[in-house]
Subunit: 241 residues, 2 copies
């Protein structure tokens, strides 16, 4: 069933791989262990009979009730299944590594809260920071998904450079302070595949711009924006569409 | 004169109080000292004859050239004055103190980059953090103004509670996930005075909601957003209007 959006609830995450067909109506119980178990029992101090919500990160949110609490895990009984669609399934945000990991991670978190579910991280020619932090990024994705009560765990992957992205099938969009078209006027066709490509602090190199020569260009504001501000601003405008 | 927006330049800040009628066409030189002087000479390693831009934080940006460099100050010759209008002069963002100063400061910085020029910080009933950090906030305002090549130094003030804001003359607007009106559909009348009021992590208290009972309510996204995400999202949408 399609459902209203939730507010003021606690959302926990149990990956489908851990549960063997969690979404099936036949499965009536869900087991919570590890960090999620600790949070329910030690932080929130829940008891048998309390209500909480679980997502599988694949579009389902289950309204559950605690049926029993063990020493290191607890059992939940499913009372209701809410099914959501991933509105921005065809949109991928392509983010350069930034000099400041804090700014990069903040942008990532905000994008998830605003509904972006696909990310590619690339090393821009002018990126200063190198090295992937997949564990850390995944923690941010999970936490932001739960925080914003979303039911799709975003996917994130890394590529070596922008050329790899330019070869992918789909419309490429870049953001440029001096572009004539305003992003707010852009009619997003949610059935179509898009790559929204953001530049690093120093902008795109001429080699990168060549690889992106057929990309559509949009401006976000007439003023210069920091790299991570452009990312969050585009996600905010997209979320309102 | 009204001017195009700048890109790819260095912008420095010299408050008008330091220069005695800096904006007047009669004044042809500007003195840079302190941190700004150090940045020009030691970090950017500029020399006599180089071009740079200075704002007075009151709507003017001066295109200048370095005429002489001393031991602790340098002289600039004004070559052009660009005058900007403060599009959002009538809009005040009212921000609660947040539990995480990082998140609060990030929201403040992003708002400045996106064009917001008036802030009131308040202690919400559910604010966890207390204490003003005016010096630190002012540094963030100046840095973000220069970074985004803006010419208005934002004003920031603090009040004890939301009731103080509710008594100010102007339209009050609050953001609520469950509001029926979407903020993107809101027709902002830039001649009218508005207070955009954001709640803290825990939301408004019932006492605060009573003080705001005549406020207009808008939703930003159907999903729950963190306090600072709502702030940045509203500023992003406003910046596109």
């Amino acid at each position: 069933m399609d459902s209203d959006f939730l507010s003021n609830v606690e959302l926990y995450f149990v990956p489908r791989s851990k549960t063997n067909d969690l979404g099936s109506d036949c499965i009536e119980t869900i087991t919570l262990s590890g960090d999620e178990f600790n949070h329910v029992v030690r932080v929130m101090r829940h008891d048998t009979g309390d209500e909480l919500f679980v997502t599988d990160g694949e579009g389902n949110i289950f309204k559950c009730r605690i049926s029993s609490i063990g020493k290191s895990s607890l059992e939940l009984t499913k009372e209701e299944t809410m099914r959501y669609t991933d509105k921005y399934a065809n949109i991928t945000f392509c983010l350069p590594k930034l000099k400041s990991p804090d700014r990069f991670e903040f942008a990532l978190e905000k994008c998830v809260e605003l509904g972006v579910t696909n990310f590619i991280v690339y090393d821009a020619d002018k990126s200063v920071s190198k090295g992937d932090k997949n564990d850390r990024w995944n923690k941010i994705l999970i936490s932001a998904m739960k925080q914003s009560l979303r039911s799709y765990l975003p996917a994130i992957s890394s590529v070596k450079n922008l050329e790899k992205i330019s070869l992918l099938e789909g419309e490429k969009i870049i953001f440029d302070q001096e572009a004539e078209l305003k992003f707010t006027d852009f009619q997003t066709d949610l059935q179509k595949k898009y790559f929204f490509i953001f530049g690093p602090e120093g902008g795109f190199s001429s080699r990168e711009l060549l690889a992106l020569k057929s990309a559509m260009k949009f401006s976000l504001t007439p003023n210069r924006l920091r790299a991570e501000t452009a990312v969050i601003s585009a996600a905010s405008i997209l979320a309102m569409k």
